[in-house]
C-alpha cells in the first residue's frame, strides 16, 4: 500500500519517508520477531507430529492438541486453580516487598543493627526455603495461609539483600552534600538513600516476582488442599497421580504464562519508576 502511494505521488520526499518508515517496521519485525515466531511454530509442529509418528501415548507425552483439549474439558477446574495460585503469589509477593523493604530501611538506618543482623540475612537467604516448608505447614496448618507464607519467605530474602545493597551504595559525594546541609538521618534516608537504591530495589522485586510463584506452587504441593481450594500446584499433584498428563501440561503452561505476565508487569513498573533517570530504563533512547 505504501509503495503504491509512493509511485502515484511521483516519489516525492514525504512518500519516500513513509516508504522508509514502513520498511523500517518490516525490518524491526524481521529482526526481532520473525525468528522467535518461526522457532515457536517449528517447535509446536515437531511436538505435534513426533508423538503421532512414534505413536507415543498421551499420558507419556501429550500433543499440543491434547493439552488444549484437556484444558478446555477441565476449564471449570483449571480456572479456579489459576485464580487461587495468582492470589497466593500476589499476596506472598506484596508481603515480601513491603516487609523486605521496610526491614532493610530499618537495618540500614542503624549501623549496629545492620552489622549484627545482615550476616544472618545472607545466611538465611542460602537456606532452601522448600526444605523448611513443612515446618510452616506444622505451624500454620495446610491451606492458604501456609502457602502464602512459603511464597513470602521465598521472595523475601532477594528483596532484603538487594535493597540493603542499594541503600549502602550511595555515592560518597552525594552523601557529603547532605552532610553539608546538616540533613537528618531520616531526611537522608528518604531523599537520598531510598531514591539511590531504587534500581536495586527494582531488581529485587523482579527476582522475587518469579520466585513468589515458585513459592506458591511449591507450597501447594505440600500444603495444598482439595475441595476447589487447591491451586495449580495441587492440581498438578492430583493430575500426576491420576496420570492425567495432558491436564498436567495445561497446568504447567498456565503457571508459566502467569509467571511471564507477572514478570512483565513488575518489569513495566520498574521501568516507569526509573525511566526518567536511570540507565537501565533508557535503552530506547539515542
Amino acid at each position: 500500500m505504501m509503495t503504491q502511494s509512493a509511485v502515484t505521488k511521483g516519489r516525492n520526499v514525504v512518500a519516500k519517508q513513509a516508504e522508509k518508515k514502513s520498511s523500517n517496521v518490516w525490518n524491526t519485525f524481521k529482526r526481532s520477531f520473525l525468528g522467535p515466531i518461526v522457532a515457536l511454530v517449528l517447535f509446536l509442529s515437531i511436538w505435534q507430529f513426533v508423538p503421532m509418528l512414534l505413536d507415543i501415548k498421551p499420558f507419556i507425552l501429550p500433543k499440543p492438541t491434547d493439552v488444549i483439549a484437556a484444558a478446555a474439558a477441565d476449564w471449570a477446574l483449571l480456572w479456579p486453580a489459576i485464580r487461587i495460585t495468582i492470589t497466593e503469589s500476589l499476596i506472598g509477593f506484596l508481603l515480601s516487598a513491603a516487609i523486605g523493604i521496610a526491614i532493610s530501611v530499618v537495618l540500614a538506618s542503624s549501623r549496629i543493627l545492620e552489622i549484627s543482623i545482615y550476616p544472618y540475612a545472607v545466611i538465611l537467604q542460602t537456606i532452601p526455603v522448600i526444605a523448611v516448608a513443612p515446618i510452616v505447614v506444622i505451624w500454620f496448618g495446610s491451606g492458604f495461609n501456609s502457602i502464602v507464607i512459603i511464597s513470602f519467605l521465598i521472595g523475601f530474602f532477594p528483596i532484603i539483600s538487594n535493597t540493603l545493597m542499594g541503600l549502602n551504595s550511595v555515592d560518597k559525594n552525594m552523601q557529603e552534600l547532605f552532610t553539608l546541609y546538616n540533613a537528618s538521618k531520616w531526611k537522608t534516608m528518604w531523599k537520598l538513600r531510598i531514591p539511590a537504591a531504587m534500581p536495586y530495589i527494582m531488581t529485587g522485586l523482579k527476582i522475587s516476582s518469579t520466585l513468589s510463584i515458585v513459592g506458591a506452587i511449591t507450597g501447594e504441593y505440600i500444603a495444598g488442599i482439595g475441595g476447589g481450594k487447591g491451586g495449580l500446584g495441587y492440581a498438578i499433584t492430583v493430575a500426576a497421580v491420576q496420570l492425567k498428563t495432558p491436564y498436567l501440561f495445561a497446568c504447567g503452561i498456565a503457571a508459566a504464562v502467569f509467571g511471564i505476565c507477572f514478570y512483565l508487569i513488575v518489569n513495566l513498573f520498574a521501568h516507569l519508576m526509573l525511566k526518567s533517570w536511570h540507565e537501565s530504563a533508557m535503552k530506547n533512547e539515542k
Binding site: 555515592d171 559525594n173 552525594m174 557529603e176 552534600l177 547532605f178 552532610t179 553539608l180 546541609y181 546538616n182 540533613a183 531526611k187 531523599k191 537520598l192 531514591p195 539511590a196 531504587m198 526518567s276 533517570w277 536511570h278 533508557m282
Partner: protein, 259 residues
C-alpha cells in the same frame, strides 16, 4: 589570637596526616578575608582539596585548627547556610529535575514551599538555566550540569562558596564562559570564594589572591596578590606577568615570593 572582624577563614598551623601515613598538609597558616576570591593552586597531592574540605567540615585537622567565621566548620554547617560547596563533578541527584536539584538545600533546611521555588528560580536565572527547569541532569551537557550545581550552591544564600576544581572536566570554551559567569555572580552576591585549581591561567583570571601550594608534604609555598582590575583580559601583558609569576613559584616551591 585576635580575630579580625572581616576575616572569614583562618588556618592555624594546620597539619593533616591520613591513616595511611600520607602527610597531606603540613603547617598551613593562612587567613582569608571577607569578599576575597582566593585560589588554591598546586599540583595534585599538595593538599589543596584537603584544605578546602576542612573549611567545609568534611575533614578534621590532625593538628592545629581551622576557623570559619570565628567558629569551627562543623558548628557553622550545623547552624547556618553560610558555607556552600561545589564539587568537581556536578554531583546532582539524577532522579531530580533541575528545579528540584536546586531546591534540595532549601528542602533540607526546611524553607517554606513558596520561597523555595522563588529562590530556586532566581538562582537558575542567574546561571541562565530558566528554560530547563524540568530537565533531568542526564539531558544536560557537562557545562550546564555545572551551572545547576553552582545554582544549587547559591540557593541557600551562602556567605562563602567553596569550589573544588569545578571546571576541570569541562572543555576550554565552556570553562571560559563559566569563569566569566562566576566572576559576575561573585560580584553580585558579595560572597567569599575559595577555589581549588591546578590551572595557572584560571587562578590568575579569577582570583584576588592565589595560594600557591607544593606537594609532598603539602604546604603553602607563597601567596600572590593579583593586582589586576576586573574584568581581566586573558591576553593582557600584565596578565601574562602574573601567569609567569605563578608558574614560576609553582616550579620553585621552595622560594617564598609575594608581590
Amino acid at each position: 589570637m585576635t580575630v579580625n572582624q572581616n576575616q572569614v577563614v583562618s588556618f592555624q598551623h594546620v597539619d593533616k596526616v591520613y591513616n595511611t601515613g600520607t602527610i597531606a598538609l603540613s603547617g598551613l597558616d593562612l587567613n582569608i578575608k571577607e569578599g576575597e576570591f582566593m585560589s588554591f593552586l598546586g599540583p595534585s597531592g599538595c593538599g589543596k582539596s584537603t584544605a578546602l574540605r576542612m573549611v567545609a567540615g568534611l575533614g578534621d585537622a590532625t593538628r592545629g585548627k581551622v576557623e570559619v567565621f570565628g567558629k569551627t566548620p562543623k558548628e557553622v554547617i550545623k547552624n547556618s547556610n553560610d558555607i556552600a560547596f561545589v564539587f568537581q563533578d556536578a554531583n546532582l541527584l539524577p532522579w531530580r529535575t533541575v528545579l528540584d536539584n536546586v531546591m534540595l538545600p532549601l528542602e533540607l533546611r526546611n524553607a517554606n514551599k513558596k520561597s523555595k521555588k522563588e529562590t530556586a528560580l532566581r538562582v537558575l536565572e542567574m546561571v541562565g538555566l530558566k528554560d530547563h527547569l524540568k530537565s533531568y541532569p542526564r539531558q544536560l551537557s557537562g557545562g550546564m550540569r555545572m551551572r545547576v550545581s553552582i545554582a544549587r550552591a547559591l540557593a541557600a544564600k551562602p556567605k562563602m562558596l567553596l569550589m573544588d576544581e569545578p571546571f576541570a572536566a569541562l572543555d576550554e570554551m565552556t570553562r571560559q564562559t563559566l569563569q566569566n559567569e562566576l566572576l559576575e555572580i561573585w560580584k553580585k552576591e558579595n560572597t567569599t570564594i575559595l577555589f581549588v585549581t591546578h590551572n595557572v591561567y584560571e587562578a590568575v583570571f579569577l582570583s584576588t589572591k592565589i595560594a600557591v601550594m607544593s606537594a609532598r608534604p603539602g604546604r603553602l609555598s607563597s601567596i600572590i596578590d593579583v593586582d589586576l582590575p576586573y574584568p581581566r583580559e586573558r591576553i593582557d601583558h600584565r596578565f601574562n606577568e602574573y601567569v609567569d609569576l605563578a608558574s614560576h613559584s609553582l616550579e620553585n616551591s621552595s622560594i617564598e615570593r609575594s608581590v
